[in-house]
Symmetry: C2
Subunit: 283 residues, 2 copies
């Protein structure tokens, strides 16, 4: 990545202040967006979630117009990639206490596309169960914030490429999400996904798929799920904004078919993505 | 702060790479050290904890000699202040997954002294109870890591200066610590402090005071404590490496005397601090 691909507070550079609260405390929020043919997919929804997440951690909102302008600038003449927007509480304050007047730092970075095997989407992935638990904290639940050590420890549990993802459980053994994705189960024709009111990240792709599934006439339940429900599921799939949707073909020893609902959702997403690309910026 | 007060990987500067995992994910650990007359107090213990914390999050240790050299460089000709050492997992990796070969980033920054009222140490402080809970996660418990949003949200609960600190409870209503300090209760002549095996930070000053109290012949128990034990305590005090020891004279509606054990520990720390200053670098 050269400096041209990163804007910090609107200026091309690739450094931030050591004293930025993002670096001091992970005091910020972020989102990660797939870019196809220069179009940031579902950008509006990502900006909406950023705004919600800023409110949730008590940070002022920098404004959609500013972000739209800077995203467009970073994406000029770019093809495919991954766009990451970070908003931090900026520099200042006394220890953990935020400053009286917050000037958020915004970092907009275009990264190269991540090259996952095409088979992940086509034939499904093998997933493991992580032993690192997610702490329960309703104050932070759902927010895509910059405190991500739990995911890092979980992702450090395995190094081989046999596993494409690991599933995480909370301190009460409830299934929550993958280290970088949300998870859906299908059982008796209905979709089930963990309710994220105590921990986990409310993925933009998760919301898109929930709405889409309901639009297609499926029942979707956000609920408490355990390893038992995972074991009993007819189908399992993962989602995030960069990978889209990956069917799961195995979780540890348990194999799954890529069933009709997973295929239907994958097809819907493919079409929807094409429409977003055709619609052009801001996608 | 000018650049002379900060070293990043041994060089005077005040920026870090946007892609540093410390800024991306809060993927690092830190410690905060009181500096008196150019001497970093209890430096050895801080470096020991840093080393333990690096191991706990799976980061390579940068080495004591390197840190000692750089700390000495930052402190040259300095008087009082607060020294913060941050060690992050550096740049690289694919998403949350750490890179195969980690080159940690080290940031050594000398901040001006924090000017708390002298009465805090002398006459005690008024403390509130925070509603922001601490999530329980044994994998992260005790570690002074850079994921500190819980403390920030808790510290954002109040803005007036009536309260010097706020106490935090975990998701199971167990007393854990202050937003920036550890907490000790005295009951029937014994010291009680929350056991930090599920959340919280193992403060260097906390360890020092536990050892010192035992050395002075007091019984010290690390145990599970609730609001009830707090209410029933004869004495309460707070500790961290920068404030030293603050007696608590009130928690919400409950008043406390500055009792004999609190006074004894405060006296011990004063003497011990003077000895550390006299002993000179590395303190």
């Amino acid at each position: 990545l050269n400096t041209a691909s990163i804007l910090v507070n609107g200026r091309p550079r690739r450094t931030v202040d050591v004293l930025d609260r993002g670096f001091q405390y992970g005091d910020g929020v972020f989102t990660t967006i797939a870019v196809r043919a220069g179009i940031p997919l579902f950008l509006d929804r990502h900006l909406d979630r950023l705004q919600r997440d800023c409110a949730a951690v008590g940070m002022p909102w920098v404004g959609k117009d500013t972000l739209l302008r800077e995203v467009e600038q970073v994406l000029t003449n770019q093809g495919d990639g991954v766009l990451k927007i970070q908003l931090t509480r900026g520099v200042g304050g006394r220890g953990y206490r935020p400053p009286a007047s917050v000037a958020p730092t915004r970092v907009i970075a275009l990264h190269p596309s991540v090259s996952y095997p095409a088979s992940h989407e086509q034939d499904g992935v093998v997933v493991r169960l992580c032993s690192t638990p997610l702490g329960i904290n309703p104050c932070l639940a759902g927010i895509k914030h910059m405190n991500r050590l739990e995911q890092i420890l979980a992702r450090s549990e395995w190094g081989d490429s046999d596993y494409a993802e690991g599933l995480m459980f909370d301190q009460d053994d409830q299934l929550v999400e993958g280290t970088m994705s949300n998870v859906f189960l299908v059982r008796d024709g209905r979709l089930l996904t963990p309710v994220l009111d105590r921990c986990g990240i409310q993925g933009v792709m998760r919301s898109i798929l929930i709405e889409a599934a309901r639009g297609l006439g499926f029942e979707v339940y956000e609920c408490r799920l355990t390893a038992k429900e995972l074991e009993r599921a007819d189908e399992v799939f993962l989602s995030n904004s960069v990978i889209g949707l990956w069917p799961v073909r195995r979780v540890e020893g348990r194999a799954y078919e890529i069933g009709s609902i997973t295929r239907r959702m994958r097809e819907w997403l493919k079409t929807s993505t094409q429409q977003a690309i055709s619609a052009g910026f801001p996608g």
